[in-house]
């Protein structure tokens, strides 16, 4: 696959065709005078999705909508809102779709739980397979001495 080339290319084509001289990601005139607030704004923006882009945060997107949202986030920060308040406000307006980090809830527990479930299942499969192999081995009813002999023979092809 020409991978991200096509997806990104296609999205960008659309965006740039719509607005041939579109705005770019965070611009100097957006930056807040208070560096602490600006740092928070950047961190927040990196977690918010540009709704018209493909998997881009508003922090890195060139789209006009992303710029509007960046400005909005900064206005709320200036007004003294907490990060959570801003996120809640945006989710109420745009839905969970705007959060790049999906919230943990009924519809997403399988998503968040997947890594643990898979790790656990895989681990169990390995343990069960191992136990079965061991029981097969003991079914051969080798004595201790025979085991030792076998080990020694198996060890022989070792360098």
């Amino acid at each position: 696959m020409n991978l991200k080339i096509f997806a990104r290319g296609a999205v960008m084509t659309c965006l740039l065709l719509l607005a041939p001289l579109a705005a770019r990601a965070v611009q100097p005139d957006e930056i807040m005078p208070d560096p602490r607030l600006e740092t928070r704004a950047r961190a927040l923006s990196a977690q918010l999705r540009c709704m018209v882009c493909q998997n881009e945060s508003i922090d890195e997107s060139h789209a006009d909508l992303a710029r509007d949202l960046r400005v909005l986030v900064r206005e709320r920060l200036q007004a003294g809102d907490s990060d959570d308040q801003i996120r809640t406000f945006l989710v109420r307006r745009y839905g969970d779709f705007i959060l790049l980090k999906p919230p943990f809830k009924l519809e997403t527990w399988l998503l968040w739980g997947a890594p643990f479930l898979i790790l656990l299942t895989g681990g169990c499969i390995i343990l069960v397979a191992r136990r079965r192999q061991m029981s097969l081995l003991s079914a051969n009813n080798l004595s201790e001495a025979e085991h030792a002999k076998l080990e020694a023979m198996l060890g022989e092809d070792e360098p």
């Binding site: 696959m1 020409n2 991978l3 991200k4 080339i5 096509f6 997806a7 990104r8 290319g9 296609a10 999205v11 960008m12 084509t13 740039l16 065709l17 041939p20 001289l21 579109a22 770019r24 990601a25 965070v26 611009q27 100097p28 005139d29 990196a46 977690q47 999705r49 493909q54 998997n55 881009e56 945060s57 890195e60 839905g95 969970d96 779709f97 705007i98 790049l100 980090k101 999906p102 519809e107 997403t108 399988l110 998503l111 968040w112 997947a114 890594p115 898979i118 790790l119 895989g122 681990g123 390995i126 397979a129 191992r130 192999q133 081995l137 198996l154 060890g155 092809d157 070792e158 360098p159």
Partner: protein, 660 residues
């Protein structure tokens, strides 16, 4: 005319693929040598035909034959020649043709280089490969024909997407395809083994070099793609957890697991079921990637539903090949004899753990990529799964892998001594800790970066502990060392380099935490400090390229007052598509980079600039190159051993057990 012959060659290739889909399998079932012998020459001719079809399409692009839809939509007479050639795979139809070209290239390679392989095995492998080829050639001919003509040819074409007019694009897709499609060979081997029911060390020995080739190409392809994104997209990022990127990461993870697994199977005849499973999985993920990228399902579920022809066709291919192979797997896996016993603490044990973690990583990426699509299809609810999710799940899964890597190299087969290995790794581990402490005290910075840097140092040093012990153990003379070096199998060096390469990439990733970024408006003559450097923006220079015009912002980089170098970040305008593209100005200084992109050039010559200092960033890609180098070292060793196997067979002598 050449276009029609190309089209015809592709149809002929389909016919040959169909022949090769049936005759060799029949031969292997009926034990008819003549029928099995059909497979190699037909595979070679098939490759020739597809290569001709590809050549015909390339010619149409090179001479700007605007009677072809494909050329009109993706080319322009003023486009530089190199992009006329690379533009062939810069679009859906052409890239699918490249896909099939690589597929038949691998079939031809098997036909040529695997003479020593048992005849029925080769016949079945080539047959399975032909099934895949037939399906995809049919896909091209029915839904994505690059040879479609226009009734009235326009005078000029629409040009190629400017983002794709870049040297990076010239290398990235073919490499990635070699990887993606190279995994088709391991798939074909697995399917052939399941059909014949013979799954043993011979299978592992033959499948290993092909897995390595695919893995090396994937590694390079992904690294190249990430560097391309880094310097083309203009905001300094190199990995976005984009679904399309994930589509290439998943096969890489599966191929990495498979690579380790085949080693166990070849040496110890253990983990057969796992090896077959991973071989099928790796290519299945390549197919899933193809489906994700090619069907348009990523843009939106609705876009897919509104023009489903291509998507449904690939989905059908997907279901048949993945479903069919796993059904066969389920049927046969139960009857497999598990050989090679091993204690939990042993190299086999370490590789089992490696496989468990890598597959979980892979499954996590898979879930994260497809969950939003599935949820939207089922409930209609839209959610986003972005970088924060992957950083929170993928990274914790990968850290244990880094810790485990040097252990796996040092543990002996069958049964190992954990305490002894830990003792040998103490130096590497200690060095990692010291590095961490020094960094924390001297540099500070984010805790994650400090910790990951320490881990990286441990991995890099730990990768070479085994080699150092085997070369210099017991304090010997230089002569002895070089003699020992010649005696060591090359794959021992390969493993060390590949592991160290991953550590080096990790160090580059960790160092991003110490980067600096400035977003500012710059007037001509204005200076700005970034990291250890001072940048002076001099002026905007208008320039003209073959099919674009650009405004380049000449900027001088100084270190303590002395001029180091100059960069020309530019913003380009491509008139045909009325598109802008930024061309970042990058200066590699040591292992770090100063990165600058500009936009919005005002009438008085002022620009909006985005400037980064990225320390050690080059290590990210250098690490990938070293990984690939390690892979090549191992590959040179493996192919040599295949040669040995052939000679040994001729001498009617049993091949000696490969010494570890």
């Amino acid at each position: 005319m050449i276009v029609e012959t190309g089209h015809y060659a592709l149809v002929l290739a389909l016919a040959l693929a169909l022949v090769n889909s049936v005759v060799p399998v029949w031969g292997s079932v009926a034990r008819d040598q003549r029928l099995m012998a059909v497979a190699p020459p037909v595979a070679l001719i098939g490759f020739g035909l597809v290569a001709y079809a590809y050549f015909a399409l390339t010619m149409a692009h090179v001479v700007s034959d605007f009677s072809l839809v494909n050329v009109v939509e993706n080319s322009h007479s003023a486009k530089p020649l190199i992009y006329k050639i690379t533009g062939v795979w810069g679009n859906h139809e052409g890239s699918m043709l490249l896909w099939v070209l690589v597929l038949s290239l691998f079939a031809a390679a098997v036909a040529l280089f695997s003479r020593s392989m048992p005849e029925d095995m080769r016949a079945n492998v080539l047959a399975v490969q032909s099934w895949i080829a037939a399906a995809f050639i049919l896909f091209i001919l029915l839904t994505s024909n690059p040879f479609a003509r226009l009734a009235g040819a326009p005078v000029e074409g629409n040009d190629l997407n400017p983002l794709l007019q870049d040297p990076g694009l010239a290398i990235h897709p073919p490499l990635l395809y070699l990887g993606y499609v190279g995994l088709s060979i391991t798939y074909s081997f697995a399917a052939a083994a399941l059909i014949s029911g013979r799954i043993d060390a011979v299978f592992a020995r033959f499948v290993r070099p092909w897995t390595l080739i695919a893995w090396i190409s994937l590694t390079l392809g992904i690294a190249m793609g990430s560097y391309w994104a880094y310097y083309t997209l203009g905001w300094g990022g190199f990995w976005f957890w984009d679904p399309v990127e994930n589509a290439s990461l998943m096969p890489w993870l599966a191929a990495t697991a498979l690579l380790h697994c085949t080693a166990v199977m070849e040496k110890r005849e253990a983990l057969k079921i796992w090896t077959i499973f991973l071989a099928i999985l790796a290519f299945s993920l390549s197919l899933v990637g193809t489906f994700l990228v090619r069907s348009g399902v990523l843009t939106s579920v609705h876009a897919f539903a509104s023009d489903p022809t291509r998507g449904v066709f690939i989905l059908l291919i997907l279901v048949i090949f993945i479903g069919g192979s796993f059904a066969l797997f389920a049927l046969r896996a139960g009857g497999l004899q598990q050989g090679g016993l091993f204690a939990p603490v042993s190299r086999e044990g370490a590789i089992v753990l490696n496989n468990l973690l890598l597959t979980t990583c892979c499954a996590t990426v898979f879930t994260g990529t497809l969950y939003p699509l599935a949820l939207e299809a089922v409930t209609g609810e839209k959610i986003s799964v972005g970088p924060p999710f992957f950083n929170l799940t993928f990274v914790p899964l990968f850290i244990p892998l880094f810790i485990l890597m040097p252990f796996g190299q040092l543990l002996p087969w069958k049964r190992g001594d954990l305490a002894g290995v830990a003792q040998r790794l103490a130096v590497a581990f200690g060095a990692g800790l010291v590095f961490m402490a020094v960094l924390a005290a001297w540099r500070g910075g984010p805790a994650v970066s400090v910790i990951l840097s320490g881990v990286a140092v441990y991995v890099i040093l730990g990768s070479f502990v085994d080699l150092v012990r085997r070369l210099f153990g017991g304090g010997v003379s230089a002569d002895m060392v070089s003699q020992r070096a010649r005696g060591l199998p090359r794959h021992a060096f390969g493993t060390a380099f590949a592991h160290a390469g991953l550590g080096i990439t990790l160090l580059g990733l960790a160092a991003t935490g110490w980067g600096a970024e400035k977003i500012t408006a710059l007037k001509p003559g204005e200076a700005v400090e970034i990291g250890p450097y001072e940048l002076t923006f001099e002026s905007v220079v208008p320039r003209n390229g073959p099919n674009y015009s650009e405004l380049a912002g000449r900027t001088v980089i100084r270190s303590k007052g002395a001029v180091v170098t100059t960069i020309d970040p530019a913003t380009r305008f491509y008139p045909t598509r009325r598109m802008n593209r930024s061309e970042a100005g990058i200066a590699t200084l040591g292992l770090g980079q100063v990165y600058m992109s500009i936009a919005d050039v005002a009438a008085n010559g002022a620009v909006n600039a985005r400037i980064f200092w990225k320390p050690l960033v080059a290590l990210i890609w250098i690490g990938a190159l070293i990984m690939a180098f390690g892979g090549c070292l191992s590959l040179s060793d493996l192919s040599f051993r295949i040669g040995i196997a052939r000679r040994a067979r001729k001498a009617q002598a049993p091949r000696p057990q490969p010494a570890e």
